[in-house]
Structure formats: structure tokens, C-alpha cells
């Protein structure tokens, strides 16, 4: 590995900002309105950026701070905004993410939300029995003074009435971390602020000590993947007959059907009642090779003792095998035949096409977890990943890349915290054949005349970015066909002969 020159300036960043990731995560919860506490521009810019990929409406509310709020604090506008969003959207949940501005002026969002709830959500916290989705549950005061059934868990000591939206907040200043940190921080915030202890007597009440809704479920947190990937995972888990909570799930809310009425909030998303019970699951599966130490899965483990299993994004053969084995173990069934045969066909296709790819040299860039997954799969096909880069800086990328290349392909140059200027400068001397990453690498690909395989987010210059399938044997099959055909097309187009039979 060589060192990057330490440039001060950033040119054509290979990352996005933190609140964007949080907004996407919140969009994957049913009935939720993402809400940015900051100036109006943040929400509008991010909406535009997200829309251009998904071709779907995405409403992100804003507290629209002006100059006087920047001086005197944004509390009043945040409360007004929450109230207006509640009146207009009737959401089940409002996901408040902060921005550079409100973090820097020092707004205490947690306190502001408490004040707001005390003022507008009267009787939200009460000691009387509350009707909720899960039937009658005893309720307790915040100070635990009049609780009928004491709850030992310190995270949840009260019940919220359903008529008011739940308000979840997450700190996401753009100056610390990328959109991926924002995405994971939002999931962690939701888990910590929304889940409820599963009372032992609840499962007894159901008359079944192996209640499938409690200790039977699997929490599945795939990370930031495409809408097609989420749909695929749901099919996969259902095929294993696993009762699951996929979190977040924007497969419908960010890739919906043509409609006759503009929905206040698009349909779809992980059900809030399911999120509430995530602590009672028998295991949490979290995907990603460079995940932060603290995460939603880790919080569930700490709060409720829910076992945490972390694995890479299931991209390519080896990482998908690993996940399939785990699911087979959890479900105590074998791997469904559909997936066995998909694996077989994938291997068959890889054999058929291996000569087109063998020895080709690739640059892979984007979010760190995705880069690791793609690098792993490329290496399996015979493509040599020579440069793996990300604007993120988990500190884990080189280790993870070394892990997936070990014994199958020479080690690649690996860079965290780089922009496209750095990537181009390094790649110049590497004699590369293809780029694998999101749309923003197009300028570079065009400059050096190599094809770009579009994956991940954003895909702003093609249709259907939300429908690209990356995961599982089926995703690998699609990626393989796309990559191989792109290489063949390049060879065909560049040939002076004009072969019509490759």
C-alpha cells in the first residue's frame, strides 16, 4: 500500500452527509416523516438527491431555521415544525435528525422534544392502563413511583399513547462522519428510544412459552442496500420460514406503485409494533464488515441481551454461503432448493464467462461495506480489484479487504477518507479495465475510457438504481451478467472488425 498525498482540499467527494443517511433510515419505518432540524436548504438538497436515484417522492420536513433562530436557538421552530408535521401528515413517528447548524449552535434536541411532548402530548405518559397494539399493559410513572408491575429495565419506564406520533431524535452533524454513520446512528437511536422490554408474563399470557412473536423472531439489519435487495431478503427469510423483522425496510416506501392518490406518507416500512419488540428476538443479524462498535444490534444486545451476529453484506458466493449457513442453523431447516439451484446456476455462469473477466483490473469505490462485498465477489470471478476506496473512515476497510482477498487475489491498494481526485490520481498508473461504484465515478470512467458498472447509491444517470439487486446468489448472478456483458460490449465496440458473435 502506498501513501496518499495529504491534500487539504476535497474535490468531488466520495461520500454524502450524515443527515441524508438518517433520512433514508427513517424512511424505512412505517408511517414516518423524516425531519431535519436545520435550515431549509438541507432538506431540499437531500430530497432532490434522493429523488434523482429512486424516482419517488420523498418528503423530508425541516424546522426551516432563519437568522434569528441561529442566534437565539431553534427550539421554537422545532416545536412548531413538529406540530405542523403532526397536523398535516398524522405520522406514527417523526424521525428528527440534527444538522451542522443546530449542532453548532448547541440546541439540546432531547430536552426540546421532552418539552414539546409535555406540552402537546398531554397524558402521553400515564399510570393508567393504556390500550395499545399489544393489548392491555400496565403502565408506570417516569419516577417508577406508582407502577403496578415494576419493570427492571431502565430504558423504558413509560407507555406512549398511539394517538400521538412518537418522536425519535438522532445527532447527525455533517462534520463528523458520512451518510453511513448517519444511517447507522438513526437505526441505533430508534432501537434505543422505541423498543420496549418484553415482559415475561406477556409471553405466558399468550399461553405459549415459545411465542413466535417474541423469542421466535430474527432481527435482520442489512444496512444501506437497494429496494430490490430488501425485497429479496424478505423472500429469502420467508423461504427459510423465519419470522423476521427487517429493519429498516424502504423497499416499498422508496420504490412504490403508481397511485391514484398522493399518500401523506408512502406505504411500507418496518412496523413500529415489530420494532418495539426487537429486544425479544432470538438473534439480531447485522450486515457490514466495517460497522461501528456501537450499533442498533449492539444496543439490543446491551439492553435486552439479544444475541448479535455480525456478518458481511451477502455479496458474491462466499459471503452469501456464510449467511445461508447461518439462516439454515437458525431455522433448523436446510437451505431451500431455490437457493441451492441459484447457486449452482451462478457457478455455471461464472465458468461460462470466466475468460472474459480473468485478469481484468478494477477500481471499486463507495460506501465501505459495499466496497468490501463487491471486492469479494469480483475476486471470485477472476477480476482483480486493484484499488478499493471510500470517503468513509471506519479504520476497518483495509483489514476487511485483506480478509476477502486472502488466498484468492493479490492485495489491493486500499484507501479510506479519499475523494475522486485522490482516486483518479492513484488509479492513473494502475492500468485499470473497469470501475465499479455509483454514478459519480462516471466523469473519471469517461476520462480514461473504461466502463463503469453502476451499483449502490446514487445512480443518477440510469433508470432503476433502486431495482439493482446486489445480494445473494441471485444478485451475484445479475452483477456477473452485467459485468461480463459490459466487458464483452467494450471489446466488441472497440474492435475494428465488428464481430457479431462474441
Amino acid at each position: 500500500m502506498s501513501n496518499m498525498p495529504p491534500y487539504t482540499s476535497t474535490t468531488n467527494a466520495c461520500k454524502l452527509c450524515k443527515p441524508l443517511g438518517a433520512s433514508l433510515a427513517f424512511r424505512g419505518i412505517e408511517g414516518t416523516v423524516p425531519f431535519l432540524h436545520g435550515s431549509q436548504g438541507c432538506a431540499t438538497y437531500m430530497r432532490r438527491y434522493i429523488i434523482s436515484h429512486f424516482n419517488e417522492p420523498i418528503d423530508i420536513a425541516s424546522s426551516s431555521l432563519g437568522e434569528k433562530h441561529a442566534v437565539y436557538g431553534g427550539s421554537a421552530n422545532l416545536k412548531l415544525g413538529l406540530n405542523n408535521v403532526t397536523k398535516k401528515y398524522a405520522p406514527k413517528l417523526i424521525g428528527v435528525a440534527t444538522t451542522c447548524l443546530t449542532e453548532t449552535i448547541g440546541d439540546d434536541v432531547k430536552r426540546i422534544i421532552s418539552e414539546y411532548e409535555a406540552e402537546f402530548h398531554k397524558n402521553t405518559i400515564s399510570c393508567v392502563d393504556v390500550e395499545s397494539d399489544e393489548g392491555k399493559t400496565p403502565c408506570i410513572n417516569e419516577d417508577l413511583s406508582i407502577c403496578e408491575k415494576p419493570v427492571s429495565n431502565k430504558y423504558k419506564a413509560h407507555k406512549y399513547k398511539d394517538e400521538h406520533p412518537r418522536i425519535i431524535y438522532v445527532s447527525t452533524p455533517s462534520y463528523s462522519g458520512t451518510h453511513m454513520e448517519g444511517f447507522h446512528a438513526a437505526l441505533k437511536a430508534v432501537v434505543e428510544q422505541l423498543t420496549e422490554p418484553v415482559l415475561p408474563d406477556e409471553s405466558l399470557d399468550s399461553g405459549n412459552d415459545a411465542d413466535p412473536l417474541t423469542r421466535g423472531t430474527v432481527n435482520f439489519m442489512p444496512g444501506f442496500v437497494s429496494a430490490a435487495d430488501l425485497r429479496y431478503l424478505k423472500e429469502l427469510l420467508a423461504d427459510f420460514k423465519i419470522d423476521f423483522t427487517l429493519f429498516p425496510d424502504y423497499s416499498e416506501s422508496l420504490d412504490g406503485e403508481a397511485l391514484n392518490d398522493y399518500p401523506l406518507i408512502p406505504a411500507g416500512g418496518t412496523l413500529i409494533k415489530d420494532i418495539k419488540k426487537m429486544g425479544g428476538a432470538k438473534i439480531t443479524i447485522e450486515c457490514g464488515s466495517t460497522l461501528p462498535k456501537e450499533s442498533a444490534g449492539r444496543s439490543l444486545e446491551k439492553m435486552y441481551g439479544t444475541p448479535l451476529y455480525r456478518t458481511a453484506l451477502p455479496i458474491g458466493i462466499r459471503e452469501t454461503d456464510r449467511l445461508m449457513d447461518k439462516l439454515a442453523q437458525i431455522s433448523k431447516t436446510g437451505i431451500p432448493s431455490r437457493y441451492k439451484s441459484a447457486r449452482g446456476r451462478l457457478v455455471d455462469a461464472m465458468v461460462d464467462g470466466h475468460k472474459y473477466l480473468s485478469g481484468k483490473r478494477a477500481v471499486v469505490y463507495g460506501e465501505e461495506d459495499l466496497v468490501v462485498g463487491l471486492t469479494s465477489f469480483l475476486a471470485e470471478t477472476g477480476v482483480q480489484p486493484v484499488l478499493c476506496a471510500s470517503g468513509g473512515k471506519s479504520g476497518e476497510l483495509a483489514r476487511a479487504i485483506a480478509g476477502v482477498l486472502d488466498g484468492i487475489s493479490p492485495m489491493a491498494e486500499v484507501y479510506e477518507n479519499v475523494d475522486f481526485y485522490d482516486i483518479e490520481e492513484r488509479a492513473e498508473s494502475l492500468n485499470i479495465d473497469l470501475l465499479v461504484g455509483h454514478s459519480k465515478g462516471y466523469t473519471f470512467a469517461r476520462k480514461i475510457g473504461v466502463p463503469l458498472i453502476r451499483v449502490g447509491f446514487p445512480v443518477h444517470d440510469r433508470m432503476g438504481g433502486q431495482r439493482i439487486l446486489h445480494l445473494g446468489y441471485h444478485g451475484a448472478q445479475m452483477l456477473f451478467d452485467t459485468i461480463t456483458n459490459t466487458i464483452i460490449a467494450k471489446k466488441q465496440d472497440d474492435s475494428p472488425i465488428g464481430y457479431s458473435y462474441m
Binding site: 491534500y7 482540499s9 476535497t10 431540499t44 426551516s64 441561529a70 405542523n84 452533524p173 463528523s176
Partner: protein, 452 residues
């Protein structure tokens, strides 16, 4: 709790022509939580200055503001393309705590050495305004050291909406105007203000002007060059398009250099022709006017046959308009009329009271006029008026498409030339291609209509 489609506080920003006397509240801060389609001060500045192709555009702040404005506009350049790169200081937590001036200085020096720009614009973002970096001092220091203008653009996002951003951009540009050599400029000369050369539009306008014998000194800012802006005060007239964006600069030039200005629009046949006539009238030369009339006749004769074919098919169809500036909305209302269509809703993000007065005068009874709208309102208007096509920007497109309504992109990201006579034809063609597409017969809106 049941949801309400319209928030009470917004009712004075929505008007239906005919029912009540016209009043419109506008130019007020967006309502918190209303999901405004507006952006921020930074966005306004960036929109105006972005097309200046031989300048360095450095965004001083965390990464978001720079990355969301990277090569997103169709503003073309005939030469250098420095504007298409996204430069940022990418401020980190430590910079926020200890100040970002040093990083800004180093980044500026590094980028100027690397790219040798003719000038640099440095945009401040929200937190720069809060942490108190003295951007002016850093810019002055680097400007002195490097011998090029290094101009701070005071565009902290929270200081208002796009309008304040336009003003900040004009302030920055006004420091350039008057510093260049004006020798050799024709008596019949103008500056084009407020055209951003989307899809090459400014080249078309410049060609029209050259054909009637008028020289263009500076293109502000489409295909813009620093040296042209420096000598812009040598022009006899400022021709200003796009309400708000560059009017401030024209006003400054009037004060300092006594250069008069006219407001024009290049969208639609009537407005394009009128723009050329206005320029010709200004120079009081019958020959220029003669050439303008000839040009208009020729161009109209060229496009009319095809335009009439579209008109025959589109007659009676209903259109809705929601754009950034109201001036564009006026032209669109007329352009739709020209192809036989009815405008049933029209609105803008940043129109003024006078703008809305004028809209109310040129629209038909029952037309909805709206200021600073949002997705829920817009979608309810589309449904209520059963529109056939919606014209707007990227944020409006998915609203239309989700409801199965045709759409025409009319903003800074488009790749189709819509200005001038050729642009009118392109516009009609785009409207036709979208409205007449067979896909609408499959969307729920139309399918259910057939059943009932």
C-alpha cells in the same frame, strides 16, 4: 389524529382567481414542518455563480453543501469546465471547534496552484457563519498572494431563502465589474444577465443578438468568464432575465456606471420576440429594428408548421406550473396558451407581490395561484384540476409521476434547450411527447376514470 391537507398558516399564500379580491402573502419565511420546495441562501448563490467556468468555486463548510451541488446543472461552457468540479474544505469536528480559517487558506492556495483559475469564489455555509471564520480576511490574503480576485460569497444557508443568496452572488460579482479594460466595445453592446446557458441556450440568444448587430460583452453567468464580467461596465445596456437572480447586479451597475437595464424573458415566441424588439428600441437605430423584425419573421416561419401540428393535438389540455421564479411562470403561461393549452394552476417558490398580481392578471378564472407550496398541496391541486401536464423541477417530478401525470422539466438540471424560437418548439415537443404517451392509459387515475 386526522391529517389536514392545508395548514391554516398557509391559507394567505394560496389564491383562486375570481372568488375574492386578490391578496397574496409572499416572500415570507417558510413555515417550519411544511416541507417547502425552497432551498437556502447558499443554493441561491451557487445557482447564480455556478456557470462561471474559469473560476474556482470553493464551498467552505462540511461536505454536504458541496456534494449536493456537484455537476448537477446543465450549464455548458465553450471552454474551461472548472465549474463542473465540486471543491470543499470538508470541515471536520476539530475545525468547527478551533475554526476553519487555516484549512480554508491551505485549501485555497492548493486549489489555485493546481487549477490556475481566473478568480475564486468562496461560499460560506451555515456553520461558517456560526463559528465566525473571517472569510473576508482569508480571501483578501490569498487574493493578494496569488494575484487573482478571491471573493467571499456570504451565503450562510439560514440567512434567508434563495433571494438573499442571489444578492450575495451579485455582491461578489459587483466587485469584479469595473476592473477590466473596456476598449474596443461596440456602441451597440449589451450584457446578458440571468441566463445560465442550460443546454447551450445562451449561445442561441447570443446568435440572435449578433444577427441584429448587437455585441454581447459579458454573459452573466451562462458560459461566463471572469475577464468578461470585469469589463461588463463597458456595455451600453443590461438585458436581464430570470426574476430576482441578477437584477441586483444590474441595479448596482446602474448606480455605479449609469448603465440602464431592461427585463426580458426568452421563453416562448412572444417574449423572445419582445426581448429582441426591446433591445432594438433601446439603440434607436431603425436598421437594428429592421433586422430584429426580419429575424423574428424568419424564425417564426421556420417553427410554425411543426408547432401547429402539436397545437392541434394538445388543444384544450390542462397544465400546472410550479417553478422557482415567477418571471419564468409568466412566460410559461403564454407559451401554453400558444399551443392551445389552459393553465389551471401556477405558483413559484420566491415570487413577489407584484409578480403574483401580474400572474393573476394573465391567468383565467379559477386558476390556482400559490406561493412557496409543498408536495401535499401540489398533489391536491393536480388532482382537483385533473391536469394533463405539470411543469416544474426535480422535486416536483415524482409528485406528478406518482399520480400518473405528464411532466416537463423546466429547471436548472434540464438537458433540453427551451429558450428562443427553437426552444419553444422543443418545449412543445416535450409537452407533446409526455402528454400523448400511451403510458397514462395504464395509470390508476385514468383506468378508474374509464370504469366509472
Amino acid at each position: 389524529m386526522k391529517a389536514a391537507a392545508f395548514l391554516q398558516d398557509r391559507k394567505n399564500q394560496i389564491h383562486r382567481k375570481g372568488k375574492t379580491p386578490f391578496t397574496m402573502e409572499c416572500n415570507k419565511e417558510s413555515l417550519a414542518g411544511a416541507v417547502s420546495q425552497r432551498a437556502c441562501v447558499f443554493c441561491g448563490s451557487r445557482v447564480v455563480l455556478y456557470p462561471i467556468a474559469d473560476a474556482l468555486h470553493l464551498v467552505h463548510g462540511p461536505i454536504g453543501c458541496a456534494v449536493y451541488t456537484w455537476d448537477i446543472r446543465g450549464a455548458l461552457s465553450s471552454g474551461p469546465e472548472l465549474h463542473r468540479l465540486s471543491f470543499s474544505t470538508d470541515l471536520q469536528e476539530m475545525d468547527v471547534i478551533f475554526g476553519g480559517e487555516k484549512k480554508l487558506y491551505n485549501a485555497l492556495v492548493e486549489l489555485i496552484d493546481r487549477h490556475q483559475p481566473k478568480a475564486a469564489f468562496v461560499y460560506s455555509t451555515c456553520i461558517v457563519g456560526i463559528i465566525g471564520d473571517d472569510m473576508g480576511a482569508v480571501c483578501k490574503r490569498v487574493g493578494d498572494e496569488k494575484g487573482i480576485p478571491v471573493l467571499p460569497v456570504m451565503s450562510e444557508g439560514f440567512k434567508g431563502n434563495k433571494r438573499e443568496g442571489y444578492q450575495a452572488a451579485c455582491n461578489a460579482m459587483s466587485q469584479l465589474v469595473g476592473t477590466g479594460d473596456t476598449s474596443g466595445i461596440s456602441r451597440y453592446s449589451i450584457n446578458i444577465l440571468g441566463d445560465f446557458n442550460l443546454a447551450g441556450e445562451i449561445w442561441l440568444i447570443q446568435d440572435y443578438l449578433n444577427r441584429i448587430g448587437v455585441e454581447v460583452v459579458a454573459r452573466i453567468t451562462g458560459d461566463g468568464r471572469i475577464n468578461d464580467i470585469k469589463r461588463a461596465h463597458g456595455a451600453a445596456l443590461n438585458v436581464v432575465q430570470c426574476s430576482g437572480a441578477t437584477m441586483e447586479l444590474a441595479n448596482m451597475m446602474k448606480e455605479r456606471f449609469a448603465i440602464p437595464s431592461i427585463r426580458v424573458s426568452y421563453f416562448g415566441i412572444e417574449d423572445m420576440a419582445e426581448a429582441l424588439y426591446e433591445v432594438a428600441r433601446f439603440f434607436k437605430d431603425p436598421l437594428v429594428m429592421e433586422k430584429a423584425k426580419l429575424l423574428v419573421r424568419e424564425e417564426i416561419a421556420r417553427i410554425m408548421p411543426e408547432l401547429n401540428r402539436y397545437k392541434a393535438e394538445l388543444k384544450g389540455k390542462k397544465a400546472a406550473i410550479y417553478v422557482g421564479g415567477a418571471f419564468k411562470a409568466f412566460s410559461l403561461v403564454k407559451a401554453f396558451r400558444l399551443i392551445g393549452m389552459n393553465v389551471v394552476m401556477v405558483g413559484s417558490q420566491t415570487g413577489t407581490a407584484e409578480d403574483y398580481e401580474e400572474l393573476q392578471e394573465i391567468t383565467d378564472e379559477g386558476t390556482i395561484i400559490v406561493d412557496d407550496s409543498n408536495p401535499l398541496e401540489l398533489s391536491s391541486f393536480l388532482k382537483e384540476k385533473d391536469v394533463d401536464i405539470f411543469v416544474g423541477g426535480v422535486k416536483e417530478r415524482p409528485i406528478a409521476y406518482k399520480l400518473g401525470v405528464a411532466f416537463c422539466d423546466h429547471n436548472h438540471e434540464r438537458k433540453e434547450m427551451l429558450a428562443g424560437f427553437q426552444g419553444m418548439l422543443n418545449f412543445a415537443k416535450e409537452v407533446y411527447n409526455s402528454v400523448m404517451s400511451p403510458v397514462w392509459r395504464f395509470v390508476p387515475r385514468r383506468r378508474e376514470g374509464e370504469k366509472s
